[in-house]
Subunit: 108 residues, 2 copies
DNA sequence: GAGACAAACCTAGCGCTTCAAGGCATAGAT
DNA sequence: ATCTATGCCTTGAAGCGCTAGGTTTGTCTC
């Protein structure tokens, strides 16, 4: 985990979260995570698209081809009901594990 | 990431942190993480020992055979100077990335 | 003493995730 | 016509954690 990277295991949660307000296209997901994190996080395309494929297979998102604001053929991703449930579940898991980590880190 | 698991990428940091106060043996590291985390984290032996091997190779810890309080042959692990530096570095990385994650999760 | 159990160490192999490094297509600008 | 940025995708390698085994040895029970 070097300078500008992800915490393994959290990429799915971040993507789902960014999709929550409404459908956006793949490329924009990475940009949105980048800016929302104040440039602290950087999602590589080689991580992004495979992750989206996995989510499609699991039924957490649906994809649809369309045209972007910049007049380009893009693929819009949208949360499914199951995806919404999955997001909640991942948030709970993350919060619990994070609490465990912080307990150890502070009171070791 | 199911019920009682680790966040990938944080195991090394947790082990280094638990070793910080002083040398303890491998098996006790897992127990200590378990109890310090209030049973929220569970380190499997199949994760623990390979992780310790990696740290030995990188020179972050040193190992020494000895006898435990329960009169058993055990391997005590001890932080090296480099391990202390590594711990600080991992803490900084983790804090920065965590801040990024929380920014995204709250303000998406 | 025999057997059972838990402490404590370890390894092999699988599966998953991330990343680096490429390739492809097209809209808009020069 | 060429270039640049946008946008999608795949392949291969590397790393990590887990499952599922196995070994040794101290302690306790009968």
């Amino acid at each position: 985990m070097a300078k500008n990277e992800m915490l393994p295991g959290t990429l799915g949660m971040l993507i789902l979260r960014v999709l929550q307000p409404g459908p956006i296209h793949g490329y924009a997901i990475a940009q949105r995570i980048h800016t929302l994190s104040k440039e602290l996080l950087q999602v590589e395309e080689g991580s992004l698209y495979p992750a989206l494929q996995r989510m499609l297979l699991k039924g957490w998102v649906k994809a649809e081809w369309g045209i972007s604001e910049t007049n380009r053929k893009v693929r819009f991703y949208k949360l499914t009901a199951e995806g919404r449930r999955q997001l909640q579940s991942e948030i709970e898991d993350f919060d619990r594990v994070l609490q465990g980590i912080q307990s150890v880190m502070s009171k070791a």
